[in-house]
């Protein structure tokens, strides 16, 4: 918009070119300013998800799972269990909603291994195939061994293991987290 336009100043009086230049600078400057105010405000508003300061969730982040320790057989098949927790979605708080699923497998009397059922490749839900005794992703055929290690080159990393604790003898407590797909490292995704 602020292109110099030499023809314009040719027929003006001698003082004109300088005044014309000043007018151009002012016109362009003020024009940009009045346009920038709504545009920049709108952009900052649009970037709210990035600029937002997160609220601390409180507690240690562990959830009690709706399954008792005894329901899991030692060295049995992994059990797919839904993770139920409060979910904040913009202005609403949904109480006790399923927010994901985890595979739980008891490997010893007091030891449980947990995997997030999201495939680290591109986030599809992983199945367990009991015939082959491995985890299998129906989207792009990622496979993982019972201990979660990747068995082909499709996923970027092993299945995402989660922290589990056995409390009061029979309760299974889990720290549920989602991780970014596609990366070789486990990078947590903010829950809300």
């Amino acid at each position: 918009m602020s292109l110099p336009h030499p023809e314009l100043n040719h027929d003006g009086p001698p003082g004109e070119p300088r005044r014309g230049f000043l007018t151009q600078i002012l016109a362009a400057g003020i024009g940009l300013l009045v346009g920038a105010v709504p545009a920049v405000s709108g952009l900052a508003f649009f970037l709210d998800p990035l600029l937002r300061t997160k609220k601390g969730s409180g507690g240690d982040g562990f959830l009690k799972m709706p399954v008792a320790l005894d329901a899991l057989e030692i060295n049995g098949e992994p059990q797919l269990v839904k993770v139920i927790m409060d979910k904040v979605d913009a202005w609403n708080t949904y109480l006790q909603q399923p927010v994901g699923a985890v595979f739980l497998r008891r490997t010893d009397k007091d030891k449980i291994v947990a995997f997030n059922s999201r495939c680290p490749h591109l986030g599809c839900a992983v199945d367990y195939k009991s015939a082959e005794k491995h985890y299998y992703c129906p989207c792009h055929t990622s496979t993982f061994a019972l201990d979660g290690t990747q068995q082909n080159k499709i996923p970027p990393r092993d299945l995402d293991s989660l922290d589990v604790e056995i409390r009061n003898g029979t309760e299974v407590w889990l720290k549920f987290q989602n991780f970014r797909a596609t990366t070789p490292d486990k990078i947590p995704v903010a829950s809300t």
């Binding site: 918009m1 292109l3 336009h5 314009l8 014309g20 007018t23 151009q24 002012l26 016109a27 362009a28 003020i30 024009g31 300013l33 009045v34 346009g35 105010v37 709504p38 545009a39 405000s41 709108g42 952009l43 900052a44 508003f45 649009f46 970037l47 709210d48 600029l51 937002r52 904040v88 913009a90 202005w91 609403n92 708080t93 949904y94």
Partner: protein, 648 residues
């Protein structure tokens, strides 16, 4: 790097000083797009007689429309049109999202600025005779744009789904329904059903963000194209040397836009875009008014003669504005004659004056209407209260924010009081919601007078508080003085028997005969101890954390009647009964005077309201209706919780 690449392929000439050669790039682009000619046409439009401030109105309208487009697109990314999410998403935008208040404020106030600028632009065009041949068609295009802008204002007002927008827009759609022939059908179509609901919002939203803006852009392109074809209307081409649009007129336009933007920003920062309480079709909203630029129509519809012309609002809201609009449409034709132009200028001034006058009258009437002012106050209170409720940890439930309002004692209590208790009682002199109880009396000369109705029962503004308990003990007659306004059925000058039970009853005479004791300085702490004891029995939230010692001493006085100076002639327990909190044994006997167990607390008040004539309350001397049957359980709960101060 790009520059190097461009140089290598020969698109950019290598300059001696080896920096970016703008002209070469422009030439390259121009060869392929005709950019230079386009820019030249856009920027170097000739303005005979030089740039002038009076030409800025069109540009400011384009500017405000651009602001609306930009802010509107961003707002639409956070808005959710349905009856349980519209208000909630706007609330989230306003109070939780970064700069949400700013973007919404810009959108809200720019919309209003646009209406003002529209009126100024129209007046400018008519005064300068810019509608005359060959510019008639462009004048009509402008009028179409004006309708679109008003349509945008109307549809946008509903979208926050707050009480204000909901009730104001309902008037508009009712007017639509009053239109001849297809009125009722078009109303149903516009609303997406016979009543307001999800589809009213989805339809208004689509109109507001797609249909009307698309039409606006289409007509704006036509408007500007035709304007450029005929050039600017110059009243005085010889007043100064010719100039071009860029940069002379652009600077003036930009400064005007800056002034508008500053005003809009100032309003956004100091006033802010209002969001009243969420829309509730079951809750009347007497503060409903259209957006201020439609107030003149609102006022016009309030004249009785307007309503009588067609036995309905069709004349005032459709025919009369339609006829005026037709007059404006005909102005280019009328203006062909010199006298016609003068007539047009006079007509537009008269019209604007009329609009200003009606708007002023509407504002004036509202400013001296106590009911309207009370409603506005109530609306503000509700707006603040919903914010408190929405900020609680549980947040906004999925049923929508309105469910918070409906189950809130602090909001509903005063309304239930106003409907059920205020016919006899008052609350700090008003009906609980802030309105006076008045009757309108027509005087001999035809004028009306508002007379404040006398209460016939006690003012309950401080019911159950320590002050209330103290007043009952020390000045029973004064506390219940309003009962004197209940007159005998047969003798309007005599106080009714039912009131005498109280005003000349045992408690009244006890209070009178003991009044002297409370004036003794040594007895002052005893009184406050006694009050503390009775108040603690109500277990109100206000009593939490009060010292136990005082109420223990108060209990001694309550049971024994012993004062530092001059004991009670008859003890409280001689007439009243009381089962102290957490104890099994009832002190005294149920019968003579009202039970003081949990006095003025949640349980006491609940049982009392259900049946004040029960033997443990007023018994046979009761004159108050029982509300057990009149109020639903939920209403009783909300009323009681509000009155005892348990609003959480």
């Amino acid at each position: 790097m790009l520059l190097r690449l461009a140089e290598r392929v020969g698109y950019v000439e290598r300059s001696t000083r080896n920096y970016f050669n703008m002209n070469a790039l422009i030439t390259w682009l121009d060869d392929r797009t005709g950019l230079k000619k386009l820019m030249h046409e856009a920027l170097y439009e000739n303005i005979p007689g030089g740039s002038r401030w009076r030409y800025v109105w069109g540009s400011t309208l384009i500017f405000t429309f651009s602001v609306q487009m930009i802010t509107g697109v961003f707002l639409a990314m956070a808005y959710a049109p349905s009856t349980t999410t519209a208000w909630e998403s706007v609330y989230h935008i306003q109070h939780h999202m970064q700069f949400g208040w700013l973007v919404r404020g810009l959108h809200h106030f720019s919309a209003q600025a646009m209406t003002v600028l529209l009126a100024l632009h129209l007046m400018q065009v008519i005064i300068d005779g810019a509608y005359r041949a060959p510019r008639e068609v462009n004048f009509w295009l402008g009028l179409i744009l004006m309708q679109i802008v008003l349509g945008l204002g109307l549809t946008g007002y509903l979208l926050p789904w707050d009480q204000k927008g909901f009730y104001a827009t309902q008037v508009s759609t009712e007017i639509m329904g009053a239109a001849p022939v297809i009125g009722p059908q078009s109303q149903i179509v516009a609303q997406g059903g016979p009543q307001y609901g999800h589809h009213t919002l989805t339809r208004f939203f689509t109109m507001h963000v797609m249909v009307l803006p698309a039409l606006m852009i289409a007509f704006l392109v036509l408007h500007i194209a035709v304007f450029r074809r005929h050039g600017i209307t110059v009243p005085d081409p010889d007043r100064a040397p010719n100039a071009t649009f860029w940069p002379d007129q652009v600077l003036k336009d930009a400064v005007a836009c800056l002034a508008i933007l500053s005003t809009v920003l100032a309003l956004t920062i100091w006033k802010g875009a209002e969001l009243s309480a969420p829309a509730d079709p079951s809750e009347p909203f007497s503060a409903a008014r259209p957006e201020w630029y439609f107030l003149f129509l609102f006022q016009f519809l309030r004249f009785e003669w307007v309503e009588h012309v067609t036995k309905g609002p069709a004349f005032g809201a459709i025919y009369a504005p339609g006829a005026l609009m037709a007059l404006v449409v005909a102005m280019p034709i009328i203006g062909r004659w010199r006298a016609g132009h003068v007539f047009n200028v006079c007509a537009i001034f008269a019209l604007m004056l009329g609009i200003a006058g009606l708007t002023g009258l509407a504002l004036y009437n509202d400013s001296r209407d106590p009911d309207f002012l009370a409603s506005v106050n109530e609306a503000h209170r509700d707006g603040e209260r919903i914010r408190e409720l929405a900020e609680r940890p549980a947040g906004i439930p999925i049923e929508g924010a309105i469910s918070l309002m409906r189950s809130d004692p602090k909001t509903q209590g005063p309304r239930i009081f106003a409907r059920n208790c205020a016919p006899c009682h008052r609350f700090d002199g008003h009906d609980g919601t802030g309105r006076e109880i008045v009757k309108i009396v027509k005087k001999g000369d035809g004028t009306e007078e508002r007379i404040v109705e006398k209460p016939t029962a006690t003012d309950l503004g401080n019911f159950g508080s320590p002050e209330w308990i103290k007043a009952i003990i020390t000045d029973f007659k004064g506390t219940f003085a309003a009962l004197e306004n209940v007159k005998d059925k047969d003798n309007p000058n005599a106080v009714a028997e039912s009131s005498k039970h109280f005003l000349e009853g045992e408690m009244a005479s006890w209070s009178t005969s003991h009044a002297q004791r409370w004036r003794v300085k040594e007895n002052e702490p005893a009184l406050s101890d006694l009050v503390a004891f009775l108040y603690s029995q109500g277990q109100r939230p206000g009593a939490a954390g009060m010292p136990d010692e005082a109420s223990k001493r108060g209990r001694q006085i309550f049971e024994t009647g012993k004062l530092p100076v001059g004991d009670f002639e008859s003890n409280c327990l001689d007439c009243h009964s009381l089962q102290p909190i957490g104890e099994d044994k009832l002190l005294g006997e149920v019968g003579a005077g009202p039970s003081l167990t949990n006095y003025a607390g949640d349980r006491w008040l609940r049982e009392f309201l259900q049946n004040p004539g029960h033997e443990k309350f007023y018994g046979s001397s009761n004159a108050m209706p029982a509300f057990g049957e009149r109020l639903t359980e939920k209403e009783l709960d909300l009323l009681v919780r509000w009155m005892v101060g348990n609003n959480d």
